[in-house]
Amino acid sequence: MIDPVTSQRWLYRSLFVGICMVIVFFQILPLSTLPTTVPGPDLLLCLTFAWVHRRPEFVPPLLIALVFLTVDMLTQRPPGLRVALILLAVEFLLSRHDDSSQMPFAAELLFTVSAIVVLTLGYGIVLRLLAVADAPLHLSMIQVVATILFYPLVAGASHLLLSRVGGTGDLD
């Protein structure tokens, strides 16, 4: 017999993978093949960070690595580097949670914003050091701003989705 907590955990993990797949599916639809001047937000990043703040046990590092590595491969990014940075960012966010069990949303937003900014800067710097062609700086900055603007929305939706789940006591 599988105990309900474990089965629920795996249900939500597969839900996370499912949502990620839907987002990627819509990203790779060939709707417009013209270069975009205003890149949209990185919804996968928003989703992952929002879930990490609420239910870290639903987004274990292995799952994050698997999902983001697949996305890197599908979207022609240099594979691996960004995933490694995201894993480190997730660990940073989790370490902020150790002090108090309940974090106010303002603090959550602050930490997430700093994580996103440092992540993007670090990614850009490493790529430029290794002379890999990267997106122009202003485009990545627009994407960072869009991601930050969308974060509260994604966090709210995740809260609605995840607050119904009974607590398991882990890290929460």
Binding site: V24, F25, F26, Q27, I28, L29, P30, L31, S32, T33, L34, P35, T36, P39, G40, P61, L62, A65, L69, T70, V71, M73, L74, T75, Q76, R77, P78, P79, G80, L81, V83, A84, L87, L88, E91, L130, V132, A133, D134, A135, P136, L139, S140, Q143, T168, G169, D170, L171
Partner: protein
Amino acid sequence: MANDRNNTEYMRPIRRIVVGGLVVFLLALFLLWRIDSPRVERFRANLTDRFVPSFDWALLPVTKAIEMVEGFQSYARIYEQNQELRRELRQMKAWKEAALQLEQENAKLLDLNKVRLDPSLTFITGVVLADSGSPFRQSVLLNVGARDGVVDGWATTDGLGLVGRISGVGRDSSRVILLTDSNSRIPITIQPSGQRAILSGDNSAAPLIEFLETPDAVRAGDSVVSSGDGGVFPAGLLVGQVAIGTDRRMRVRLTADYERLEFLRVLRSHANEVITDPGSLIAPAQIGPPAPSEAAEASQ
């Protein structure tokens, strides 16, 4: 609760090891990609080949559905569009007459000169399955691949003009790097001045013209075709027209309809001469001026 806390404390070092291991593995993968890109890119092409075509039952209908919704939104302007189309149609009819006459004349002249067109430039048509999925990369995925004989480096057009070149071939799919991608470099010739240059994409709708010898000889509106320089690309494919960008640099307004890429033609190129033996390339008799030491000996 206490039990849980103990559990968490016990789990933490394991988690740290897992994360550390993953980070090291991912960075190693990134370095491997940086050092040995073709191998990893081949792996990427195979992974995409397994993943994306299995979704084509969903990809195409959803794309069509969204396009229909967009089409419905433009329903409001249908009267204006109709008028505009009628006007354009009238102009087109005049052009069609001119084109027919020119075509006949051209055929006659070609016949007189006994020109033989290259028969090996045939094509395979593929459907666009997906785009790059990232706002910073410009590429599309076609549903033809190694199974259909597609080879890396072949040119693709949309029937109007050059779209890009094949880069990454899986069994059932192949990726086309568009001319607008920041990694795209294509040798071009600008007509009528006949100057050679390189067309380099920069993530904008109009790629840049680089390495142009005399920019004064080129004007906005000159037509740009691909050149066979270096033997990497078939020559004479229409690319677009020269235009001056807002930053006063020379750019190319592409002829291909990048707004909607649906079907693409992959042109079968000639099998290029494969150079296996570098030694035989060096001609037996030296061409050009003799080396300094030989010149000195000869004068003695």
